[in-house]
């Protein structure tokens, strides 16, 4: 009896019990493989064995460096609803730049911590190159030893575990598909794969006995060849010729195909063995042979073949390294923008005129007062009126509106249209400058936006904790800034292209068609080709413009002029002169010091969307413009 009472008391006194109801298991990277400096996947499995739970799942990472003064944490949060017995899996893509600090995964409901796990990055499998294999076998393991200068890991994933968003592929260098259907991917997974490819990924489709999988719609739409069937061959003499390494003349089966687009690397257009095509900034590679079948595993030229397929850059990417070290911070477009007159307060001349009138009126009244002592009360009333009128004038027409807001938000974005992919890559340069300090939120137009880099400048300090909410849209919360502090961000995102550009070469030049599918007019559209500029003008939403361009015509611009300078001269006339500075820094950032002749070996289209393309104007207006650029494949 006493024991029963004691047990009842214990049950009553122990609070909650909610902690024990939820179990959580978090995993780092794609099967544990991580790539530092990139966004990596964190998969969280949650199991609720108790009552229904509504909470917030958060993944916290540490970024930046104390010595550079940009050390900060970013917590990626997502609301979770866990009915009784629910077992759910959530995937986050988070930036990981160093191994010193762990990644912290938490599940909270209100202020109560339901579960917490710290993932030690020192125990993760680090790599400089991660290759994802969508295969039934593990025959890609040899790739880990092929690249001597680049530490490579191969990860085998079932199609269901492929990332749902392109940011999940940020750490992935290539995806190899062999004997696996892409039709099983969800629509989100398929879009994510396309977006990643368009932004520079590499997809390799290799031959397999199940060749019909290469004829399925999703893969067929990407491949540079039309798959016709299988054929038996005696050795592969084309490989011998190309790599100068003997290939055993044993009977083997390869996929029979025909080139439809792209470039044959090995073989002929009618019997291609290795073909690649450009897909935006990425590549799709077709290998007709099954690399897992004999005699490939023992072939000496295998390393050279995979070097050709993956085209791994063995040089250090100094531009990226410098950017990560913060050495390019001072040349960030937002920093350049702050070197220009972006505010709109009265000039010395206006101020001088205003002060002269004020002092003159007062002097006049005082003079009249000395002449007419009997009317001094009237003149004193005049003095009061002058003070009140000038105070009211100073309050409104001479107000610097930018400085009299809680924050100045700038968004200058470069939108690169990735031809033939249907996607555009957006690189956003954002700045939040707080005059009086406070906490600010930024809402992004694209739900999957990657924050590449952030740093702060100014007299005031910036908060070290950021919260990125992934609820529907991507929102950065709690950007804390003291007075006179600036926080700068560089972001990347992918979006369906708002402008479709097609180009056809003809005998004397080019025929170009620009179709605007977006909601904003494309202004000042121009094509640069062979050192000449062809103006297309504005393209209204829903409209299309056709034009024939003849490079033989004389141009008013010298081909030796800086490209950015020429394009700035040809920009659409704007009433707001501050937009010119935005355009100038964007053009300088994109084209650098390239001269017109150097920058236009292949034709490209440039135009302007006179609105920010990365941020949503929410609590306070966002100032900015978007440079639209498209390199046109002939």
């Amino acid at each position: 009896m006493y024991r029963l009472i004691l047990w009842c008391l214990l049950v009553l006194l122990v609070p909650g019990g909610a902690v024990a109801q939820v179990t959580m298991e978090a995993r780092l990277g794609l099967q544990g493989a991580l790539r530092l400096g990139k966004w990596n996947v964190v998969t969280v499995q949650v199991h609720n064995t108790g009552a229904s739970v509504m909470g917030t799942l958060g993944v916290r990472t540490w970024l930046g460096s104390e010595t550079r003064g940009d050390f900060h944490t970013t917590t990626f949060t997502r609301p979770v609803e866990l009915p009784p017995g629910a077992q759910k899996r959530f995937t986050f893509a988070v930036p990981i730049s160093g191994i010193a600090d762990p990644v912290e995964v938490t599940l909270r409901t209100g202020e109560t911590m339901l579960a917490q796990q710290r993932l030690d990055l020192r125990e993760a499998l680090h790599a400089e190159q991660v290759i994802v294999g969508l295969t039934h076998d593990v025959s890609l393991d040899f790739l880990a030893t092929v690249f001597t200068k680049t530490h490579t890991r191969v990860v085998y994933l079932p199609p269901s575990e492929l990332p749902q968003h392109w940011s999940g592929y940020d750490s992935v260098s290539a995806v190899v598909v062999k004997g696996v259907s892409l039709q099983a991917l969800s629509a989100e997974q398929n879009t994510a794969l396309h977006e990643w490819l368009a932004n520079g990924g590499t997809l390799i489709a290799a031959g397999d006995s199940q060749y019909t999988l290469l004829m399925e719609p999703r893969l067929r739409a990407l491949l540079p060849v039309e798959v016709l069937g299988l054929q038996q061959v005696e050795g592969l003499p084309a490989f011998v010729t190309h790599y100068d390494v003997p290939f055993p003349e044993t009977p083997m089966v390869v996929v029979r195909a025909r080139l439809t687009r792209g470039q044959v690397l090995v073989g002929t257009p009618d019997a291609p063995l290795l073909v690649q095509r450009r897909f935006g900034k990425g590549r799709v590679v077709f290998l007709a042979a099954d690399y897992a079948m004999q005699p490939f595993p023992s072939w000496q030229g295998r390393g050279a073949l995979w070097n050709d397929i993956l085209q791994t850059p063995e040089n250090v990417d100094f531009a990226r390294l410098f950017a990560e070290l913060g050495m390019l911070d001072e040349t960030h477009p937002i920093m350049k923008l702050f070197g220009r007159p972006v505010l709109d307060f009265p000039s010395h001349l206006t101020l001088g005129g205003c002060l002269l009138v004020y002092c003159g009126l007062l002097a006049g009244l005082f003079w009249r007062m000395s002449k007419h002592q009997e009317r001094c009360w009237g003149y004193w009333s005049g003095v009061v009126v002058v003070i009140v009128v000038f105070a009211l004038y100073a309050l409104s027409p001479l107000l610097e509106r930018g400085l009299n807001q809680p924050a100045l938000v700038f968004d200058v974005t470069t939108m690169e249209l990735l031809s033939e992919t249907g996607y555009a890559h957006l690189q956003g340069h954002l700045g939040v400058f707080s005059v009086r300090g406070g906490q600010f939120d930024l809402t992004f137009q694209q739900p999957e936006t990657i924050l590449r880099h952030t740093f702060t400048r100014g007299v005031g300090k910036a908060g070290k904790d950021l919260e990125a909410s992934l609820t529907g849209s991507f929102t950065l919360h709690d950007i804390a800034l003291e007075s006179w502090a600036l926080r700068v961000f560089t972001t990347e995102s992918m979006a369906p292209t708002p402008v479709q550009v097609t180009v056809q070469p003809h005998v004397a030049g080019l025929t170009i068609r620009v179709q605007n599918r977006g909601a904003l007019p494309l202004q000042g559209a121009m094509v640069v080709y062979q050192g000449k500029i062809f103006a297309l003008g504005a393209v209204a939403p829903g409209e299309a413009v056709f034009d024939d361009l003849y490079p033989t015509l004389r141009s008013a611009d010298s081909a030796q002029e800086m490209t950015w300078r020429v394009l700035l001269k040809r920009r659409p006339a704007e009433a707001d002169t501050r937009l010119t500075y935005f355009q100038e820094v964007l053009l300088q950032q994109y084209f650098g010091d390239k001269r017109l002749a150097e920058a236009s070996e292949t034709p490209f289209l440039a135009g302007w969307l006179m609105a920010p393309a990365t941020l949503v104007s929410a609590a306070w207006p966002v100032q900015g413009v978007t440079l639209v650029v498209s390199r046109l494949a002939l």
């Binding site: 003095v383 100045l408 009086r436 007299v459």
Partner: protein, 269 residues
């Protein structure tokens, strides 16, 4: 209720006389023009280069102008408060009290109110320029309001201090001259080093975007900003000075009355 003090001030004969004298005296008009020209020059010099945001330095214009206004007004109020502005230099406080037979409190209130007209004029003249400076420095209207309050309270308290000095040391002009200058140097300069909470210029900067160097003070469980403590201290200074001046006026009045009684008694005797 709000109008009662104004109505009483209007009916105060000392204030009434002072107001008429203020309206007709050319000295204030000349001072005003010099003062506004000085402030306009400071504003033009510190006005920032067109359109730029200087990330490395906080905006300077507002604090420069506010500081200059305080420095000028502090001197004017201490020194002018200690000057016999309400009559001939040969008239003493005792003579005044004999000529205007009003209670000591009424006399002092009227004298102070009339004396503060000059302060109000100068404070109002600076307002449009300070609004311009606040806008170009990104200061919100709240900061501007606090800044104007600091100027008014501090300069007003210095005026009371000046009047108190005048009532106490009216016969020793040299001592008065030295004391006025010593006190001014202490309030504007010395206090910044030894008692920063007394310094009006630091308080003005503290109430702006600039770093809050005065910190905060907890008083009776209430946490006050540094500038608020400066305002409180100046109110106490003004109040204390007023009490001293009132005691002195009463003493002079009583002593004068006793002397008259004695003289009358001697005359009858």
């Amino acid at each position: 209720m709000v109008w009662i003090p104004f109505r009483r001030a209007w009916r105060n004969p000392i204030f009434h006389g002072g107001l008429v004298a203020f309206a007709q005296q050319p000295t204030y008009r000349s001072y005003s023009l010099n003062y506004i020209a000085a402030l306009a020059t400071v504003l033009l010099i510190t006005w920032p280069k067109e359109g730029f945001v200087n990330l490395r330095d906080l905006p300077f214009t507002y604090n420069a102008l506010g500081g200059t206004t305080l420095i000028i007004l502090a001197y004017l109020n201490v020194s002018q408060g200690a000057t016999r502005s309400l009559g001939s230099r040969y008239l003493s406080l005792h003579d005044w009290l004999v000529l205007a037979p009003v209670p000591a409190g009424q006399f002092l209130r009227g004298y102070l109110a009339a004396s503060c007209l000059e302060l109000l004029l100068f404070w109002g003249l600076a307002l449009p320029l300070l609004i311009l400076a606040a806008h170009v420095s990104g200061e919100p209207l709240l900061h501007l309001g606090i800044g104007m309050l600091i100027i008014l309270v501090c300069a007003g308290s210095y005026r009371i201090v000046g009047v108190t000095l005048l009532t106490c040391f009216e016969r020793d002009e040299f001592l008065l001259y030295i004391l006025v200058r010593l006190l001014y140097v202490f309030f504007i300069l010395g206090s910044g080093f030894v008692a920063p909470l007394y310094n009006p210029v630091l308080a003005f900067a503290d109430a702006s975007l600039w770093p809050h160097r005065l910190g905060s003070v907890t008083l009776l469980g209430l946490t006050l900003h540094g500038w608020a403590m400066t305002v409180v201290l100046h109110l106490l200074l003004g109040g204390g000075s007023f009490i001293i001046a009132l005691a002195r006026v009463r003493w002079v009045q009583r002593r004068g009355a006793a002397r008259e009684t004695r003289e009358e008694g001697r005359g009858h005797g």
